[in-house]
Symmetry: C2
Subunit: 324 residues, 2 copies
């Protein structure tokens, strides 16, 4: 498949670099200000070297990339909330051209799910979004595989930054500010960590999952428009206000605290929860874990790396492979 990769951050770069390992070719690669386009295959290494040297990816514009010859648009630009722009428009442009879309950007499927599905219905292209939930962990594919109709809930530890902070606070008895600073030094937390520590990132992932579950009960696009949820519908609490003492108290009881998100057909809630210290949800470091409750299969738990360039790219490329 020929890929147009929009976004040259950690995920976009990794997708472009790993594409040949999955027998794909990159025919366009863009960041927010420039692009490189080549119907015979972009020299990804050279383009990224230019970017690393502070130059443009190439002589083309992002618009040229969107208009190029490709089979799959990989949307890996930063997640935006509300109208999910410019990501949503990228998705629309590709589908209107009958191209496939693989999202790593959560915005369009968290905030405008029914609209994305409506555009997809009118297109020869298909839309996949494994990489928007749980990094390398195949959550969406597994729910789809088991049959979303028979899945009652999906819950888990879905944000590596928040999990790292909480598991370090518990392991070392350090306070939040100290561990956050350490996480920032390690590159596990951003300079502005609010998206992660306030629970927004985990909530977006759960909103996407709730949309998948609700969609299983809808027979028409109109029903989906009614049923779809957005970030505004989620009940979200972050980890800023958890004192070190709360973790010590929990430990006395054989428990610890994790930022847990849950998606059911009723809605989404994200917040710090007491979990058994040696239980499934007390995964440590930046690892993520997802529990899926299925009517006949019972409870399944999948853990893995929730973030990272290569990890998330492997989910994007697994979606591309599904399209062939």
């Amino acid at each position: 498949m020929r890929l147009c990769v929009l976004g040259a951050g950690a995920v976009g770069r990794a997708v472009a670099e790993l594409a040949p390992e999955y027998d794909n070719e990159v025919t366009a690669l863009a960041d927010s200000s420039s692009a490189v386009v080549d119907p015979d295959g972009v020299d990804v290494e050279a383009a990224l070297a230019r970017k690393d040297a502070g130059e443009a990816l190439g002589g083309a514009s992002p618009g040229d990339a969107l208009a190029a010859e490709y089979d799959v648009l990989v949307e890996a630009t930063p997640t935006t909330l509300g109208d999910a722009e410019p990501g949503f428009s990228h998705v629309r442009t590709a589908l209107e051209r009958d191209k496939h879309v693989v999202l790593a950007n959560k915005g369009p499927v968290a905030e405008r799910y029914a609209e994305v599905r409506a555009l997809e219905a009118d297109s020869a292209g298909e839309v996949y979004f494994e990489a928007t939930v749980g990094g390398a962990i195949p959550v969406c594919a597994t729910v789809d595989d088991l049959g979303a109709k028979h899945v009652s809930a999906v819950r888990g530890v879905l944000n590596g930054t928040a999990n790292f902070v909480l598991s370090r606070m518990a392991a070392e008895g350090l306070d939040y500010d100290h561990v956050l600073a350490e996480a920032q030094d390690l590159g596990v937390a951003e300079a502005d960590p609010s998206f992660d520590v306030e629970g927004t990132d985990a909530a977006l992932k759960c909103v996407i999952l709730a949309n998948v579950l609700r969609e299983a009960d809808c027979d028409t696009l109109d029903e989906l428009r009614e049923a779809a949820v957005t970030l505004a519908d989620a009940d979200v609490e972050g980890i800023r206000d958890i004192p070190g003492s709360a973790l010590e108290l929990a430990a006395e009881d054989g428990r610890t605290v994790r930022l847990v998100g849950e998606a059911t057909r009723d809605g989404v809630s994200v917040g710090p929860r007491l979990v058994p210290e040696n239980g499934t949800l007390s995964v440590t470091g930046t690892r993520n874990i997802v529990e899926i409750d299925h009517e006949y299969a019972g409870g399944l738990a999948i853990s893995g790396r929730g973030a990272g360039g290569e990890e998330t790219a492997s989910a994007v490329l697994a979606d591309v492979a599904r399209l062939e």
Copy 2:
């Protein structure tokens, strides 16, 4: 899809009973001595009631079932080794009639993998076998999803009986014979438990996985014939000889013992292994867990119910859904 279900044990029954929940219809159902066939849909409840009352499923023969009108053969007869008969012939008959095959019976894909793939290549039908490995846990689908080419190893605790016995020995300080008797009373171990406690069941599952991994490197059926492995190629050790004292010693070191099977491109080995007490592989009771090592996604771990009628049926029906 119309299903012909061969086998009316725990798995076959559950597939036949749950088929309508997945929008399928059963047009033939057979056990080893009788069958019921109805192109308009078998009354599964009535047929199973007859069987429970000691009567025949119906007035037809198993051969009539194989010759009936259906889209998918569900092969859920008991796993047999060596020539994998009569299961293998059932698979061949269906594929020669251009029907799809979904296996719960491990024999054909553990012992005659290349032959099954060759028959499939000459057929309009496709072959799936999720239910042969890990019960409700989607192992094969996940390896396929991630790309078997990039998976270097799959390992795990794949036999619920052996795991139950070991985890009870560790938890209660009881010896093997005592716990095995308890497992048999609970229905967790068979009257003849050798298949489970000798590691044969776990080894068959790992052989199937090793075949999947090796197949990813083959370009032709001839290469697959060379590369495919069978139970005879596996290095297998069971749990009979583990004294209670070994578990106590392990516990002093923060470790325990589990029957772990591993499949790589190099081969298969199954045997008792020391694992960290609170680590991924120290799953308890009859639960199974599988670890998948992927080049780009990193390590993934999936745990769930490894056995059970409904659980295994959910894997069969997920495969049927894949065929649509």
